[in-house]
């Protein structure tokens, strides 16, 4: 279980996220909507534990342990994995090396080949990670690494952006695999938190809970399909108005 309580996060001394609460039970996938600059990516980065994203209030608990003070790699080893929206190019570090690192010695060359085939990246294993990759290739490469890492909590930042329609289906399938969609609900152990703008991803994943984030706070919790329909019809402005309407008015 992931349990976020009263979380505030600052980047370079500026508070971006204010008092966020969120609970993801074992086997659940939640979706995060929100306009650009709402703080969605910041929330994911803070859950992953990047030092630039400083928790100023509140706590993050994962698998019954307070991880607020743990480093990125400690969280990764505990079972949190993240797909980056714009991962850096690391010259000289081969895609194969990254997958091998994610496998942590639990898989051999054959397993790497299998994952590469599955993500249609067979020709990319000997290339420097992310070097000259297209948008879709980056997404698939991130998912390939996560499939090797087998995290219990997967954080996906816009997995469908920059991906063409043909590739969306493949990405969706890989995400299902990662989030054990085909596994009976009671047996599912994997959790997911997905940022999406387009909602295409909802066609592929079993998401029961959605959030709309505005100005660093979660304004609305509900059924993600309904939320998406509202956002599509009326835009985020309606969400914001609705949210503001519910706020206590201060004179």
């Amino acid at each position: 279980m992931l349990e976020i309580k009263g979380l505030s996060v600052a980047v370079e001394d500026k508070e971006i996220i204010h008092d966020v609460n969120m609970t993801i039970q074992k086997g659940e996938t939640h979706v995060l909507f929100g306009p650009n600059g709402a703080g969605k990516s910041t929330l994911l980065m803070a859950i992953m534990g990047f030092p630039k994203y400083k928790v100023t209030h509140g706590s993050i608990r994962f698998k019954d342990k307070d991880i607020t003070g743990l480093s990125v790699d400690e969280r990764a080893r505990m079972g949190i994995g993240m797909s980056f929206q714009r991962p850096p190019v690391v010259r000289g570090v081969k895609t194969r090396d990254m997958v091998a690192a994610c496998l942590k010695g639990s898989g051999d060359g054959e397993e790497i080949e299998r994952l590469a085939k599955m993500t249609d990246l067979g020709d990319f294993l000997e290339r420097d990670i992310n070097y000259g990759f297209s948008g879709g290739e980056i997404k698939r490469s991130e998912l390939m690494q996560l499939l090797a890492q087998k995290p219990e909590l997967t954080l996906l930042d816009e997995p469908e952006s920059g991906v063409d329609l043909v590739n969306i289906a493949l990405i969706g399938e890989l995400m299902n695999n990662l989030l054990e969609k085909n596994c009976p609900i009671l047996e599912r152990r994997c959790m997911g938190l997905i940022i999406t703008h387009t909602g295409h991803i909802l066609d592929y994943v079993n998401a029961r809970t959605g959030y709309v984030m505005c100005d660093g706070t979660i304004g609305c919790v509900g059924d993600p399909h309904e939320m998406l329909a509202t956002i599509r019809e009326k835009g985020y402005n309606e969400c914001i108005k609705c949210y503001l309407g519910r706020l206590p008015i201060h004179e």
Partner: protein, 411 residues
């Protein structure tokens, strides 16, 4: 050594240049070093050298025990060629002094690529009649395994004056690994190595040089390669161990159409190490190509990483890539990439970058579960991993091993 055909003119030119400072690098006082050396016996079987000598040579990639992995061997200790032999028909490996006696035309190759009066170091080699290796592949002869050469500095405060001639005749293919090493971990010495490469029409030469000196040794290699029509010269240089002062600017001239030159260099400078090294290519004929790639790491030493490409003919193409990583709190890397074009229709480019390891990259790897140290090591290893095209798999493997063996020193 007596250079049978050596012209008196060279001696005169050398005398005139005996005090001529080099354009780059610290000026070395030659008077601080001796030219007198002990007479060393010829070794019929180089694997019979003392184990400690062989171990030192191994640090420069020289393996003497397995003769099946090479087609020729040349060993020079101080200024004496102590062993030379060739195991493949059509490949000649001998001391330059012997080659001058054997062939009356060898003199025509001396000081044709490198100028005898370039500076005091080239002059010193001529004035001391420096011996070195003569390696030649006869026309259309191709080797799979390399010729292995080792220039070994044993005596303290000695000047090693080496003069090497390499000839790849038309259509031949030759691979050479040269290891330069020093016996003592801390005694001073001076190594001057003049190397003149002649790559004839359609010939291919790969030259891999590994240096393993000590913190008191000064090194001044002087190398020029002439590449004729359709020829290929692929040079790899590896320096991972400390050296007090090293300055070199190996140069290649593509004089025939469609000639190709590639230089790869990997240099690591710890505290007390001073390196001024680069590669220079003149594209003087139509459709010639070059790529220069250098990787420099400082953990406290100073590196000037140079590169120069000059395009003097139509349809030439050259690219220069110069990357430096500063891993310590001190140390400098000065990247000096230079391009010069003298006519339209040429295509020259460069990229240079100097900095520390990007935190973003470290965190990316950490998000996959690697610790900070593991992530840093993986990035440094990646930085040093230069993909070398055209190298036979065996040599590529050897080079990889040499880099990996030295990585521990860097971390």
């Amino acid at each position: 050594m007596s250079k049978v055909k050596a012209s008196k003119t060279y001696q005169e030119k050398a005398k005139a240049a005996a005090d001529k400072k080099a354009a780059l690098g610290e000026d070395i006082d030659l008077a601080k070093y001796t030219d007198e050396e002990d007479k060393l016996p010829y070794q019929t079987d180089p694997s019979g050298l003392p184990p400690e000598t062989k171990e030192k040579m191994l640090t420069a990639g020289v393996m003497l025990d397995d003769v099946s992995q090479r087609v020729g061997t040349y060993l020079q200790i101080d200024n004496t060629p102590v062993h030379f032999s060739a195991q493949q028909e059509g490949i000649e490996v001998m001391a330059l002094s012997q080659a001058l006696e054997k062939y009356d035309w060898v003199g025509d190759y001396l000081w044709k690529a490198v100028s005898v009066d370039a500076d005091k170091y080239t002059a010193n080699v001529e004035l001391n009649e420096g011996d070195g290796y003569f390696i030649r592949a006869l026309p259309r002869q191709k080797t799979v395994f390399p010729v292995q050469a080792c220039l070994y500095l044993a005596k303290s405060r000695l000047t090693q004056n080496a003069h090497n001639i390499i000839i790849a005749e038309e259509g031949s293919e030759l691979h050479i690994i040269t290891g330069c090493a020093v016996a003592s971990p801390g005694e001073p010495g001076l190594h001057i190595g003049v190397s003149e490469f002649y790559i004839k029409k359609g010939a291919k030469v790969t030259f891999t040089m590994i240096h393993s000196w000590n913190p008191e040794v000064a090194v001044r290699p002087r190398t020029t390669t002439i590449v004729e029509e359709g020829g290929l010269f692929l040079s790899n240089y590896l320096l991972m161990k400390p050296v007090r002062s090293l300055q070199m600017y190996p140069t290649a001239r593509c004089v025939g159409e469609n000639a190709t030159v590639r230089y790869n260099s990997i240099m690591v400078a710890g505290k007390g190490t001073n390196i001024d090294a680069g590669s220079r290519v003149f594209l003087d004929a139509k459709n010639t190509r070059t790529e220069i790639v250098s990787r420099a790491i400082t953990t406290g030493g100073n590196i000037a990483a140079r590169g120069y490409i000059e395009g003097n003919a139509v349809d030439v193409k050259g690219h220069l890539e110069c990357r430096g990583l500063i891993l310590g709190k001190t140390g400098t890397i000065h990247a000096v990439p230079e391009l010069k074009g003298t006519l339209a229709g040429i295509d020259l480019s460069h990229e240079a970058a100097v900095g520390k390891i990007a935190e973003e990259e470290v965190e990316y790897l950490m998000a996959r579960g690697l610790t900070r140290d593991e992530a840093t090591a993986a990035i440094v290893r990646g930085f040093l991993r230069v993909d070398i095209e055209g190298l036979p798999p065996l040599l590529a493997e050897e080079l990889k091993k040499a880099v990996e063996a030295s990585e521990k020193d860097v971390m």
